[in-house]
């Protein structure tokens, strides 16, 4: 048993094995921070790289993230005890009027894989709900998605409200009709055309 086995179980999508592997490392008194960083987060970093290179497919990446999450659940009580906070908190959601959620879910799963705590508000989310969730969770980031031209303006309204409320969370936007110019125009802190890019942005905005 080793950290490497945990790392490999994620890359090999073995969700049935990871809980026992993590528990074994805990029992062996391995530092929980080391299990988290070297076992879980590093594995998801590798998964993210392979996904970006087109070597891993989305269903495989999602299964890897799910496997990582099972391992993280085993570790979580000890992380809280040791006051180890993974990367930071991100609020994700599809804006009001829009019910499309696949891209948003993908971003959420990958952010979790990168060590962020993700609060998913779902679809059709009012600007105020983003604002409240960011406040309650002391979120570092808010990631908003829109697939419709009619709902893109809601992103601008939301950013406006964050500014008015003087909320410090940085805001990422994405979705098929959105582009870099639009993101700049509405004063978003970042835009990505795909999920791995969103994770890179998040990592840059909230360094470990």
């Amino acid at each position: 048993m080793s950290i490497e086995d945990i790392f490999q179980s994620i890359l090999q999508l073995k969700r049935g094995e990871i809980a026992d592997l993590v528990q074994a490392e805990i029992d062996a008194k391995t530092d929980v921070g080391v299990i988290l960083e070297q076992g879980l987060i590093n594995a998801m970093g590798e998964v993210g790289d392979q996904f970006t290179e087109g070597k891993l497919f989305v269903p495989e990446m999602l299964r890897a993230a799910e496997t990582m999450k099972i391992g993280l659940e085993v570790l979580r009580p000890l992380l809280i005890e040791a006051d180890i906070n993974p990367r930071g908190t991100v609020i994700v959601g599809t804006v009001k009027g829009d019910l499309h959620d696949i891209g948003k879910n993908l971003v959420g799963m990958m952010l979790e894989g990168a060590g962020f705590t993700v609060v998913d508000l779902g679809v059709d989310v009012e600007p105020k709900a983003f604002l409240d969730a960011a406040g309650e969770n002391q979120a570092e980031l808010v990631a908003m998605s829109a697939l419709l031209t009619t709902t893109m303006p809601v992103m601008a309204q939301c950013i406006e409200q964050f500014k008015e409320a003087n909320m410090g969370a940085r805001i990422l936007v994405g979705g098929a009709p959105v582009n870099q110019d639009f993101a700049i125009k509405i004063s978003a802190d970042g835009y990505s055309s795909d999920a791995p890019g969103a994770v890179e942005l998040a990592k840059n905005l909230v360094p470990a």
Partner: protein
Amino acid sequence: MLAAREGASSELRLSGGLAPQLQLTVGTKGELIMRAQCQILSEDEKQRVHAESLKILEQVGVKFLSQRALKIMKDNGAKVDDDTGIAKIPVEMVEQALKTAPKSFVLGGRDPARDVELPRPTAGYVLDLGGVFTRDFKTGERRYATLQDNNDAMRVFDEMELSSVVWPHSTVEGDTPNSDSIRLILNSFMNSSLHVQDEFGEPEEVPYIYEAMAAILGSEDAVKERKLYSVTYCTLAPLVHEGGMCDAYLDMIEFEAPILIYPMPCTGSTGPCSLFSNIAMGNAEALSSLVLFQMAHPGTPLIFGDASGSTDFASGGFLEGSPEMVLMTAARGEMAKFYGLPNTQQGCTTDAKEPGPQAVLEKLLTTMPLVLSGADLVQGPGCLETSGLLCLEQIVVDEEIGGICRRMREGIDLSDEKNLYDDIADVGPSGHFLMQDSTLDACRSDEFYAPKLFDRHTFERWAELGRSDIYSKARERVEEILATPQKNPLSDDVIGKLDEIMRRADEELK
């Protein structure tokens, strides 16, 4: 295997499966016609898709976010769970809806000469401007679309022979977001003589659009009758009906505007990861929409369409240029015929980012099976990048693809008139047929497709002429169309009225 076909006394199908087949058809006048056709699903397979769809509707059910829709479903016999909003739809409701849905109707063109009768003997085309980006005609830059792009595309598409219906462009510009779609629709009427079809936003837009149609037609009574405008209704895969859009369509149904039912399940992401089950689920979504609108207003004209996609597993993206996409939309077109309903199928689509070989290959791939299997309307011309990017010259290239596919659909005419045995006897061994009367008569006939863009010169002549390719010729055609005055414009009086309606909409819908 013998099968009945409308307009034919008998038909002999020579082989099964997916491969293009030769059909020997005995026409109504007793003439023999050979047709090249393609069949995706056998009769038995259509029955299986139908049975799976009914099972999904009855046992899994469909979720309605509109309370009005849910009440209609409940009042007509669906088992509704008020907590989840899921309606389980029994087979009797589907059968009842299939009885009242019209089997044929006409989509009125703004110019009556461009009316579209459904069903059609060969495919017509729907200009696809559902995306928000345009490839700038002068610079090639990819940028957000403007109202002018919408109008230019309408002008170009209007000159294409196979054009049937236009979708207005989606734009994100504008200081008047609440009236932008009205502006786009009315501008489409001004710049196109075709039927206009659009996805509908809010119930507040309805009166302006109907007032505009009354102004164009000269009377309010003609609006219902002529049907210049129809709407696209997309279910939200898997198995959900949106709330606001559903309510707006239930409002509008009183005007008897046709509705294109257009599920878009994407196999592997928003749909199950097999073509068979994705087809069955898309078909179930379409049947649930058919039930809703027929129960709400029996006799509502519905187009039983499909815009399924396949998943790019490397990114999770929606693919429209894949062989799997067109297998599904063609199969769903066959399901529409199975129910005897007019259909629009997504095709002539591509995931290419620029004009070029990938665009042409994918568009040909995604058009041919639809045309050969008898789709009424193919929705896709004009766009690249998974329906996201308008490209004016692509409209002209897509017309060529449509022309080739129509020729393939027409197949080989084996009538007595085309039996030139006497010519063969007359010329005999050696010699040639260039001087025969039949050759002179046929050389400009529909028997031989005359491409507008393909080069067939010798190398030397092609080089002398500037080494053109299909896109350079297409660009010339676009330039020519945009440089000449619009044919068949609306009168100044009607344009004045439409301008006034748009101004009022800007003011009132602020």
